[in-house]
Amino acid sequence: MARFAAIIFLTIGCSFLALGLFLMWQRNDPNSLAFYGPDMVTLQTASASAQMPVRFSIPAARINLPVYPSVITEHTWADTKKGVSFLKTSPLPGEIGNSIIYGHNWNVLLGRLTTVKPGDKIFVTYPDSLKVFTVRFTATISPNETFILKPTTDRRITVYTCTGFLDSKRFVVTATLDEPKTLSTAN
C-alpha cells in the first residue's frame, strides 16, 4: 500500500515538476511564442480592420510584440500569452485619449518594461502607418490605482505589467504621441 502511494506521489511530483519547467520555459524562451503556431492573429487583425494596431515595440527594452485586441468582461481583463493586449474600448493608439496596453511580465513579453525610461521611444505599427510615442512618465503603483486608465485630452498610451513581490504591483509607462509617420505600403 505504501509503495502504491509512493508511486502516486512521485508521479504527481514529476508531473508538476514538468509543468513548472514548462511554465518557466514559456516565460523566458522567445521561441515559446512560436509554440502557439504562426502569428496568424496579427494577420487576421490586420485584415479585419486596417485601423487596429498590429505591432508594439520599445527598442530600448528589446520589446517587439504583436498586438491583440482585448476587452474587460465582468471586471475581468482578457489577456494573451502571445503578445500585448490592447483594450479595445480605449481609443486607438495615436487618437485623442488614453489608450491602454498591457501584458504579462514574462521575459518574452513585457518583462523588460521596467527598464524603460522617460525619453525612450515606443512604436505602434498599423497595417499602413507607424505611430511614434515618447515615454513621459514611469511609476510603480498598486493594482487598485485605476486612475491611470482615466481619459485624457492628449494622444497618450498607457502601458503596464506586473512587478514587485509576487507580482503585487504594477509598473506603468505613459507616453504621448510624437508625430505621425506613414510607411510605404509599396514595400
Binding site: T11, G13, G97, T152, V172
Partner: protein, 218 residues
C-alpha cells in the same frame, strides 16, 4: 460551565474580528489622481525654476504643476531636471480630529498647519509624497524661478505646463468611458502559480520518496 466558556471564547474571537477592522477603518483617505495622468484643473504650472517639496528643506529645480482634483484634494507634480519626479498629495483635511491626524501621521502623512506659505488656501493640510520617473523638462530661456513654493493657489506664473500637459482639445476618451467603473488593473503576472506548481512538485516528490523509503525499510 463548559458551554459558557465555549460561548465566551466565541464571543472574544468574534469581537476581535469586529473591533480590529473598525479601528483601522476609522479614517477614510480620499482618492488622489496620479501625476502620470493628472485630473482636475491646473491651478499652477511652471516649466522650470526652483520649487519646494513639503517635508523636505531642500530646494528642487525643475518643472512643477499643481492640479485641483476636488474641493479637498490637490496634487503637486514636480519633475526635476534629472528626471526624478515627486508627487505630493495635498488633502485639506479640516474635518479630521486630532486623533485621526495622529493616526494618519503614523501612516506617513505630513501635517501642514497652513497652506498659505505654499500658495494654497489657509487651513491645515495633510500631505504625502511618492516618487515616479519623468521626462526631464527643458528649461525655457529667461524662465526665471517659476515660483518658490510647491503649491499654486491662485498663482499664475510660468508659461506652459510640463510634458504632461494636455492640448486644448475637448475630446476626452479613455477606458472608463465605456467600461464603467473598473475595480482594478489586470493581473499580468502569474509567478504565484509557478511557485505553487513547484511547491506541489516538491512536496509530492518528498512524500513519495519518504513513502518509498519506508516501504523498502520494512
Amino acid at each position: 460551565m463548559k458551554r459558557s466558556i465555549y460561548y465566551g471564547l466565541i464571543g472574544v474571537v468574534a469581537s476581535a474580528f469586529v473591533a480590529v477592522p473598525s479601528v483601522f477603518a476609522s479614517v477614510s483617505v480620499p482618492n488622489f489622481p496620479s501625476c502620470l495622468s493628472p485630473q482636475g484643473s491646473a491651478i499652477a504650472s511652471y516649466n522650470d525654476g526652483d520649487h519646494g517639496i513639503v517635508g523636505s528643506d531642500a530646494t528642487y529645480t525643475g518643472s512643477d504643476a499643481v492640479y485641483q482634483a476636488s474641493d479637498i484634494t490637490l496634487i503637486q507634480c514636480f519633475c526635476s531636471t534629472s528626471g526624478q519626479g515627486i508627487q505630493t498629495n495635498w488633502w485639506r483635511a479640516s474635518s479630521l480630529t486630532n486623533d485621526e491626524i495622529k493616526e494618519l501621521e503614523s501612516e506617513g502623512w505630513t501635517y501642514v498647519p497652513s497652506g498659505t506659505p505654499w500658495g494654497l488656501d489657509d487651513g491645515f493640510y495633510l500631505t504625502q509624497n511618492s516618487s515616479y520617473s519623468c521626462l526631464a523638462p527643458t528649461p525655457t530661456p529667461g524662465g526665471g524661478d517659476g515660483g518658490g513654493g510647491g503649491g499654486g493657489g491662485s498663482s499664475s506664473g510660468g508659461s506652459s505646463s510640463s510634458s504632461n500637459s494636455s492640448s486644448s482639445n475637448t475630446v476626452v476618451a479613455g477606458a472608463e468611458t465605456s467600461e464603467g467603473q473598473i475595480l482594478g488593473l489586470a493581473s499580468t503576472g502569474d509567478i504565484v502559480k509557478v511557485y505553487g506548481v513547484f511547491a506541489i512538485a516538491f512536496f509530492s516528490l518528498i512524500t513519495g520518496f519518504a513513502l518509498l523509503k519506508r516501504h523498502e525499510s520494512r
